[in-house]
Amino acid sequence: MAVPKFWRQIPALYNLEGSVCGCGALAFPPREVCPKCHAVGLKPHRFRGKGTVETFTIIRTPTTDPEGENIEVPARSIPYVMGIIRLEEGPRLTAQIVDARPEDVRIGDRVELVFRKLLEKGPKGVIQYGYKFRPV
């Protein structure tokens, strides 16, 4: 992820800031147009960071990087768990599940937001932080 793109996504990555429409629909990541009523002018909405594991997979092969950059954190973390988390407020997102052995994760597990490193762009690059989840 390029540095400006990461910088623009900091509110979503750090604090689960999505969007809320006047019709009440919530979205994550934030949207310009309401996915339900197609209105514009959505406002920021911060999700509480509680959810459940809807499904998950175990990553056992080090990630390769199409941009040719070092992706130190996931490459060193294998095996690790990637899950689809349904937030209490409704929207779903994909995130790593940490603080749990892959064999211990189950569909339906309650999870909570944690703040962790996502990527390091090599020893010279920026460190990208953001959301992951851990079992409650």
Binding site: P44, I78, F115
Partner: protein, 375 residues
């Protein structure tokens, strides 16, 4: 009186036992445990660093409903007026208290960047807005208490309504170095304010000298140390002098304190210093965490303080003395107030982190601390 408004602590989930490390290097684990008085240490996951630890601590500190009206607590005198914060584009903040934090100081000897502050990452992650000042602190294991003193000065001077300060570390130790048994990860932060204190800071002072007992040169991965030199002229001289000076200024004696926390690079040093200062094992009990989590460096003394705050009763008096190699000690004389009771009911206790743990074998430990990697 100014003091601690709220606090938050964190220790990573992973642990390695002394036996596991000793078996790799052919050492007698019982001798190591007896010498260092440590059972196991906390190990950070690959995606944890001083910034992520400080963020979890700060979020814990803000996850309480205190005080009733922070805006009334002298915000008009601040150089970083909170009025502009409310114009933030964000519709909601994780806590109202966050809007009134005007200074963030994080101490660490493992800041993730050499150039780029940890404090801005913490500030963004807790939603303080943009009207705050920050700088990173470094003074070996006492960077956290140095940050707290600066935060207290900002609050007392009126430059900040509230200030967030503390320490977080993922301590490094070369494989085979005696430090490998103790160098651990964890942290604690404190929100300092002029009013609404759950723990009033009656006095704080320091004792500092140029003593090269432990250091890490620029670009070096692991620290170096002076072996036995880290004891008498370094740890003991500074901890004892600073603590005695504090009691002299405060007009107190050892028996005036209900809880005493001394920096704990291992279990042996603070026990010896306490005995020389006249403190009992009972006074040290709540603040002595190193046997179970190791030396969390900038987090070590203040994690002890966090555990005291988790459990202390109103009216109790607390003495805290940190130690940082290089060298210096900061001492604090603290009185617990009635306000701590409702906060204790909301705070995430340190014991919840200490109690949940997953043990690593030595190869898994090497992977976590990045000494080995899958090709």
């Amino acid at each position: 009186m100014a003091g601690i408004i709220s606090w938050g602590s964190y220790v990573p989930r992973y642990r390695i036992k002394v036996e596991e490390i000793a078996s790799v290097w052919g050492m007698d684990p019982e001798k190591v445990k007896a010498g260092l008085r440590i059972q196991e240490k906390a190990v950070p996951d690959i995606d944890e660093d001083a910034a992520t630890i400080a963020v979890e601590c700060a979020r814990n500190a803000l996850a309480v409903d205190v005080p009733s009206d922070p805006a009334s607590a002298d915000s008009s005198s601040s150089s970083f007026p909170s009025s502009s914060v409310s114009s933030s584009s964000s519709s909601s903040l994780p806590s109202p208290l966050a809007e009134h934090i005007h200074a963030i100081y994080i101490g660490s000897e493992s800041h993730p960047y050499a150039v780029k502050p940890t404090g801005t990452i913490v500030g963004e992650a807790i939603g303080v807005g943009n009207d705050y000042t920050t700088a990173d602190f470094e003074f070996a294991c006492k960077a956290g208490t140095a940050a707290m003193q600066a935060a207290l000065a900002m609050v007392r001077s009126g430059m900040a309504t509230f200030a967030l300060a503390g320490g977080a570390d993922t301590a490094q130790a070369a494989p085979g170095d005696p430090l490998e048994y103790t160098a651990a990860a964890g942290g604690a932060v404190f929100i300092i304010g002029k009013d609404h204190a759950v723990a009033e800071i009656n006095h704080t002072l320091s004792f500092t000298s140029d003593t090269p007992d432990f250091w890490r040169r620029a670009h070096e991965r692991y620290p170096s140390h002076g072996g036995p030199f880290t004891g008498e002229p370094a740890y003991f001289r500074h901890v004892i002098a600073s603590t005695k000076k504090l009691m002299h200024v405060a007009g107190t004696t050892p028996s005036d304190y209900d809880h005493v926390v001394l920096h704990q690079p291992n279990g042996k040093f603070p026990a010896r210093a306490a005995a020389r200062l006249g403190f009992t094992r009972e006074q040290m009990a709540l603040g002595m965490l190193v046997p179970l989590i190791g030396n969390t460096y900038s987090g070590a003394a203040i994690l002890g303080l966090a555990n005291v705050l988790d459990n202390a009763r109103p009216g109790q008096r607390v003495l805290l003395t940190s130690y940082g190699s290089g060298a210096g000690s900061d001492s604090f004389d603290i009185t617990i107030t009635d306000r701590i009771v409702p906060v204790q009911k909301q705070i995430r206790p340190l014991q919840s982190y200490i109690g949940r743990k997953t043990y690593l074998d030595y190869p898994a430990y090497l992977q976590k601390v990045r000494a080995i990697q899958h090709t």
